[in-house]
Symmetry: C2
Subunit: 144 residues, 2 copies
DNA sequence: GGTGGTTTTGCAACATAGTAGCATTTGCGC
DNA sequence: GCGCAAATGCTACTATGTTGCAAAACCACC
């Protein structure tokens, strides 16, 4: 529609995965990149709507799914049935997550992988470990 | 409906929580007690139907919810949107779970809590840690 | 810059998981 | 046995996620 005078890192990130540069895809990745914590579909949808980007619920699901399959983003299941999405900073998402039980926010704790090489009963082949810490985040902890 | 000649441990467990001994509640807890791995609502419903226990989907939800609130069972969110339930052997459910990525089964690994007291960024108040190990279970690992 | 093929979007309908309200039943104290 | 409160079962509803297909957008090529 206009000249692309703002070459966001999202575009190059999408292009690096062999995907097409589309409005929705760039906007979603931009939102994910700017967010400090994992977001749900609904939150991303609201943010998308706030940016004036026309979108569909299904498109959002497929876009997020594509980002996860491309390794750009990663998804995780929270306490309720809402899946949350975040950008995968490093290659493997071998990092812990902190889930605040009060505000429900999920933050990625990069560079915080404990020794999970525990003694497996035998026969079990460990592929990856997912550690979720529950408690109160700094914001909610102070207001307690 | 007949005389209770088999006083299952489920009954006393329910009574200890101050709950009423009902058909559904005893049967559900019995199934959970007998199962080695966590079960979904659907799996419990099938097992309930297999035992000839008349039940409703909503009743099952509420029964499971009551068991969780009473501390008898514990729930966790899997990879998909289906919640899984299992009996809480000890008091706090401070144990790890193993999720087989091939058959989708979730097993509770009792007595397998690693040192998760990692260095939190500060301000975060850790309440409990949930560790989910992903990989292949002995059954699926052998057939690979 | 135009054209064509393929991907992506958008729409509608569907599928599954979980919840709410309320009348009826049932367990349990009395 | 009686009565009350808890638990069940029913319908309907919400939320989350999926599938199929036609229209539009993106990109390669000319």
């Amino acid at each position: 529609m206009s000249d692309h005078t703002h070459p966001s890192p999202a575009e190059s990130l999408i292009a690096a995965q062999g995907g097409r540069i589309t409005r929705t895809r760039v906007a979603v990745l931009d939102i994910l990149l700017a967010a400090e914590q994992s977001l749900t579909h609904d939150e991303i949808g609201v943010a998308l709507d706030d940016k004036g980007i026309k979108h569909d619920r299904v498109t959002l699901y497929r876009t997020l799914d594509w980002l996860v399959e491309s390794g750009v983003a990663h998804k995780m299941a929270g306490d309720d049935r809402a899946r949350r999405f975040g950008v995968a900073a490093s290659g493997p998402h071998e990092h812990a997550h902190f889930h605040c039980d009060r505000c429900g926010k999920v933050v990625c704790l990069e560079g915080l992988q404990p020794a999970v090489a525990v003694n497996l009963p035998g026969g079990y082949q460990l592929d990856r470990a997912e550690l979720v810490l529950h408690g109160a985040c700094p914001t909610c902890g102070k207001g307690a």
